[in-house]
Amino acid sequence: MSALDGADVDAMQSLPVMVRHYRANQPIVREGDRPRECCVLVDGFCVRAKTTSDGRRQILSIHIAGDIPDLQSLHLHVMDHDLVTLTECTLGFISHVALREFTRRRPSVAEALWRDTLVDAAIFREWIVNVGQRSGLNRLAHLVMELRERLRVVGRVGGSEFELPLTQEQLGEAMGITSIHVNRILKQLYNLGVLKFQRGRITILDEAKFNDVADFDLLYLHLDPEL
């Protein structure tokens, strides 16, 4: 988010937040819903997804602690996709009424939230490139690198390891390939000495090789609002 001053942060902390816990693989909001609140992901992993009429699911984005994955519902009133938990999640819900009033009172917060939706769009652009143009091997490495860099910001990366609690099927849904192909890519990444994926945890085996395969440029995450 962009730079907020101390008063903004204090005011934000006084917002009425309803904390709820979700089990894994549970919908938070569904396509067609008219939510009256937005949620902040406090802990866990969730995804935005769309399912075709013949039942094929595309994961559109993966969300981690600190994200506001359904911020768009503040202005786009009917959900055009699903928001679903991947793991157990703790979510903080803020009503649209409170959030709207808050952003009117505090323009710098409104700007920060606007910026957040723009970064969201930048990540979608990168995902289009990833799904459309990169080979399976590069695509998976790129996705892993993106998540590592985002998880690093919220202090969830320890050394060369981090938690990525997706199944091979879910990784496939995020990349537009079958879990069979994901299995082949993961074995290849391990055999090449790039990374290991085991029980929802990634271990980077060789940073230089990982950088090489991921074809990753950090710019699109716009992590530094001052830049």
Binding site: G136, T178, I180, H181
Partner: protein, 74 residues
């Protein structure tokens, strides 16, 4: 029913240890075809193989095999 999708690219094998549950054989067939196409695309464009096979097994018995091979005539 649990199905295992074993991959062979030229002579190199990738075993599917976990397997996947499917209710009907049509879904199994579609999954195998789709996987074979996308793996073949990666392998052929990279030049790492000219033949990709997916051998689908259930309880060690071969259910079906999908084979895609590349021929270039210049």
């Amino acid at each position: 029913m649990l199905y295992h999708f074993h991959i062979a690219e030229d002579g190199r094998f990738v075993e599917d240890d976990e397997g996947q549950e499917f209710l009907d054989q049509n879904q199994v067939r579609n999954e195998a075809i789709e996987a074979c196409i996308s793996i073949a695309k990666d392998a052929f464009t990279k030049g790492s193989a000219r033949r990709v096979e997916i051998d689908v097994r259930s309880e060690s018995i071969s259910v079906l095999k999908v084979v895609i091979s590349l021929t270039i005539e210049e």
